[in-house]
């Protein structure tokens, strides 16, 4: 079963890196919310990676915190300053 785990690790790592790149590079309408969502996906998938690396305690912490709490904190602050999202587009045209 070791090859199965290795193959799953490869797939997961690709997914994590893609999500991270989406989070950094995304542009356009609603780009801020997509960036936050992608960061949440990074931590959710990292928790599966932790489980493969035989750390179920850490995996559970990351799943419980990355899934809802962190995303929520970001969105709550973002909802209070909706102009900040639009402003990003103007600021980054250099």
């Amino acid at each position: 079963m070791s090859t199965l785990l290795t193959a799953m690790t490869v797939v997961l790592c690709i997914a994590i890196l893609v999500a991270a790149i989406v989070s950094i590079q995304v542009k356009g309408d609603k780009s801020m919310s997509i960036a936050i969502l992608a960061a949440g996906l990074v931590s959710l998938l990292a928790s599966v990676l932790f489980l493969i690396l035989a750390a179920p305690d850490v995996a559970m912490t990351e799943a419980a915190i990355g899934g809802g709490l962190t995303t929520f904190l970001f969105f709550f602050v973002l909802a209070r300053m909706r102009n900040g999202e639009r402003e990003y587009e103007e600021a980054n045209h250099d």
Binding site: D57, A59, A64, G68, L73
Partner: protein, 233 residues
């Protein structure tokens, strides 16, 4: 443009260090000295099946106390910073109302989420999980309540009561460890019981439950403070 170039060159430098680290890294074939001690003695000394829990609560219990304190500080600084400043233009926010489905769904899911949190921190010494995970799950239950009613105000008094009460009992149990068993936060103030039972491993389930309540209350107070922020233009 020059800034971007500087950033990229810095990243290349860091990346080179990382590659060097990875090339020279060789996985250990056997456990190192500390890990060996923990692997051999945890079961007989603390009676806890989960070695991570045993280290977190007993062997390095003082660090955990410090960590919980840091979290407490973070949540109180958030409360302090948000309470500063001008509050004259407080208008009630106009929000899209919550649908009936989410309201009904919340009222049967929130108790189950809370129960799962309690399960996770009570079973901290047997299964993966424990106080920090359980506290986060309880705070997620609070988050569901907040999502289904964004203008809800939590009782700050209740949250800080739970927080300070569990903190007080936690420290008292630690001091009791000095008196009865010889060191701070020693779990052998209660009988170790049978290995693998729910009530075993001395004071570990009790201490971890208190940590869970404390962490849950701290996260909840963070959420409550953030949800009461005002809209900015």
């Amino acid at each position: 443009m020059i800034k971007r170039f500087l950033a990229l060159s810095l990243l290349v430098g860091i990346g080179a260090i990382f590659v060097a680290l990875m090339m020279s890294y060789e996985p250990d074939a056997s456990l190192n000295l500390t890990a060996r001690y923990y692997a051999e003695n945890t079961a007989s000394e603390t009676g806890s099946a989960n070695i991570v829990t045993a280290i977190l609560v007993t062997y390095r219990g003082l660090d955990t106390l410090g960590e919980v304190t840091v979290l407490f500080l973070a949540s109180s600084i958030i409360g302090l910073v948000l309470s500063l400043g001008n509050k004259q233009n407080t208008t009630l926010r106009k929000l899209v109302p919550v649908g009936e489905l989410l309201t009904t769904g919340k009222s049967y899911l929130a108790p189950i989420i809370m129960l799962l949190g309690v399960y996770v921190f009570v079973n901290g010494h047997l299964t993966p999980g424990g106080g920090f995970q359980g506290g986060a799950i309880i705070a997620s239950g609070m988050l569901l309540l907040l999502l289904s009613d964004p203008l809800k105000h939590f009782s700050h008094a209740l949250i800080s009561l739970v927080e300070s009460l569990s903190g007080f009992v936690y420290v008292s149990l630690g001091v009791l460890g000095i008196v009865l068993a010889g060191s701070f936060l020693d779990n052998r103030i209660l009988p170790l019981g049978d290995f693998g039972d729910l009530i075993s491993a001395g004071a570990i389930p009790l201490i971890y439950s208190l940590i869970g309540l404390k962490v849950g209350a701290e996260f909840s107070s963070m959420l409550a403070n953030l949800s009461e922020m005002e809209d900015l233009q």
